[in-house]
């Protein structure tokens, strides 16, 4: 893409690029020159001024230098327009370019007429001058208009390429915010995966080492998608990490993170958070939720939702967050997810839903963490209508080993 726009970028933006304009004038005007010359040759061939081919060649030879010259004379005007780029609207630029070139076309018409007079044996009628005076200024003014459209196209292409590159860089930076490795926890099997719907996303998961073998685990979803969500995601993640390291428990951590995020978010943004602290030695997990889908716990074909509620982060400064603790028996599987999983839609616009996810857990709950995660993913893919993922999707699976 870079090479494409560099190849196409033939605009005159610096004095050193002056040589491009005559070339642009010639390329854009060549078809016009040929058409005009054909018209003149057909017209002249019926009169006493020579044969068709002679007049055609005379017309081309007369018009081409006019276009090249017009382009050359156009350079100072073009540089003036470029210097005022921020102040001059594209329409104004087109009027200036086309107006200057039209005036130049008038001059060209007289020059072309003089060449025809000199080249032909019999004197041409005055109507030929009228034809030159109409066609040349109009043709050359068209060059100004086409150049403006071309310039706008290349400019937009350049902007779009730059945006794409920046999005790619942002996506790389965001990928770097995710844990490089899934932590190993004695007696537990852990897996997690996040796929944004666009280059960047608002979902994330993360872990923090709380000492004594305890692990802080978070899964979160920022409202919205794309770059705005990614920026808020980075903010929410760093806020949570700073608070989590203070090890005040999931509820208090979310309360403090919320107070901080309320200052950073507008009224139309929020972050749903599920923060869990796993104590592998005690085989206990403690949850606090900020508006996040409820954790699912599976064991021996039974699924239960852990009822833990709280207001999403960033909405109300005085929000508090309850904690719910759970003893994990061998074989217990905890599934955490974001709404992108349950809101996958099929062609009939039906949602995969809480029921769809529970069905997968019911069928595959005895699998290992990675295997269950993959099967959950496959099930949503199979259910969805197309490859166009509507929302960011994240799943985290924690399994207590037997």
């Amino acid at each position: 893409m870079d090479r494409l726009w560099q190849f196409l970028d033939f605009r005159v933006q610096r004095a050193a690029d002056w040589w491009r304009l005559p070339l642009i004038g010639l390329v854009v005007s060549a078809p016009i020159s040929l058409t005009t010359s054909l018209f003149l040759a057909s017209y002249g061939a019926q009169g006493p001024y020579g044969g068709f081919w002679r007049l055609l060649v005379a017309g081309i030879l007369a018009s081409v230098p006019v276009f090249v010259l017009s382009g050359g004379l156009f350079v100072p005007i073009e540089l003036w327009i470029q210097r005022r780029r921020r102040r001059l609207h594209q329409l104004q630029a087109a009027v200036v370019r086309s107006g200057v070139l039209a005036l130049n076309g008038v001059l060209g018409a007289f020059v072309a007429y003089a060449i025809v007079v000199a080249a032909l044996l019999a004197p041409p009628p005055s109507t030929l001058l009228a034809v030159f005076l109409i066609t040349y200024p109009l043709d050359i003014a068209l060059v100004g208009l086409i150049y403006t459209l071309y310039e706008e196209y290349v400019f937009q292409l350049q902007v779009s390429t730059q945006l794409t590159q920046e999005m790619r860089v942002a996506s790389g930076i965001q990928r770097g915010l995710f844990p490089r490795d899934i932590p190993r926890v004695s007696g537990f099997d852990l897996a997690a995966r996040c796929e944004p719907a666009r280059e960047t996303g608002g979902d994330f998961f993360d872990f923090v080492d709380l000492g004594d073998g305890r692990l802080g685990m978070v899964i979160a979803d920022v409202s919205g998608k794309g770059m705005p969500a990614a920026l808020l995601m980075a903010d929410a993640r760093s806020t949570w990490r700073a608070e989590a390291r203070l090890d005040r428990g999931p509820g208090e951590t979310l309360r403090r993170a919320n107070t901080s995020l309320c200052r950073d978010t507008d009224s139309n943004s929020f972050v749903t958070f599920l923060y869990a602290v796993l104590d592998p030695a005690a085989r206990q997990i403690c949850f606090a939720s900020a508006g996040h889908p409820l954790p699912l716990v599976y064991n021996d074909s039974e699924i239960k939702e852990v009822e833990v509620y709280g207001l999403p982060l960033g909405l109300a400064q005085d929000a508090t967050y309850e904690e719910v603790s759970l003893a994990l028996a061998p074989g217990d599987t905890v599934l955490l997810y974001t709404d992108g999983i349950i809101e996958v839609m099929n062609a009939s616009r039906e949602l995969f839903g809480f029921e769809g996810l529970m069905s997968v857990l019911q069928l595959e709950g005895d699998q290992g963490a990675s295997s269950l995660l993959e099967r959950t993913w496959s099930a949503t893919r199979a259910f969805g209508s197309d490859d166009d993922q509507a929302d960011d999707m994240t799943v985290m699976v924690l399994k207590a080993l037997r």
């Binding site: 920022v222 508006g291 996040h292 509620y309 709404d339 809101e343 839609m345």
Partner: protein, 115 residues
């Protein structure tokens, strides 16, 4: 997946204003929903209800729009009523604690009977 545009049509009963929300509720629907709410208040109804009976999909940005609306209404001393949601979105609304700021009803009849 292409989103259907959000539509919000206002109708009035004797002492309530009902905003029928249809299509998909996303960030693009903010103007439609909040505009209809402001229009609804102009008639000074006893209560404003949002009917989601024809809504198929609400994304997180749409939820954010709804939370923002009910919270703003709450600050102005009004409690919005919600009904017609599918079981899925009833659960989602509960998860994000919408019932703290708005009342949820099973049907229009139940909603109007609450007046």
């Amino acid at each position: 997946m292409l989103n259907k545009p959000t539509e919000a049509r206002l109708r009035r009963t004797d002492n309530a204003a009902i905003i029928d929300v249809s299509g998909d509720v996303t960030e693009q629907g903010e103007q439609a929903i909040k505009g209809a709410y402001v229009e609804a208040l102009a008639g000074d109804p006893r209560r404003v209800f949002l009917n989601f009976g024809d809504t198929e999909y609400i994304n997180t940005s749409g939820i954010a729009v709804l939370i923002s609306l009910v919270m703003e209404a709450g600050k102005a001393g009004r409690k919005v009523g919600l009904y017609g949601m599918s079981a899925h979105y009833k659960k989602v609304f509960t998860l994000v604690r919408l019932p703290l700021y708005a009342d949820m009803f099973e049907s229009e009849g139940e909603a109007l009977a609450s007046l």
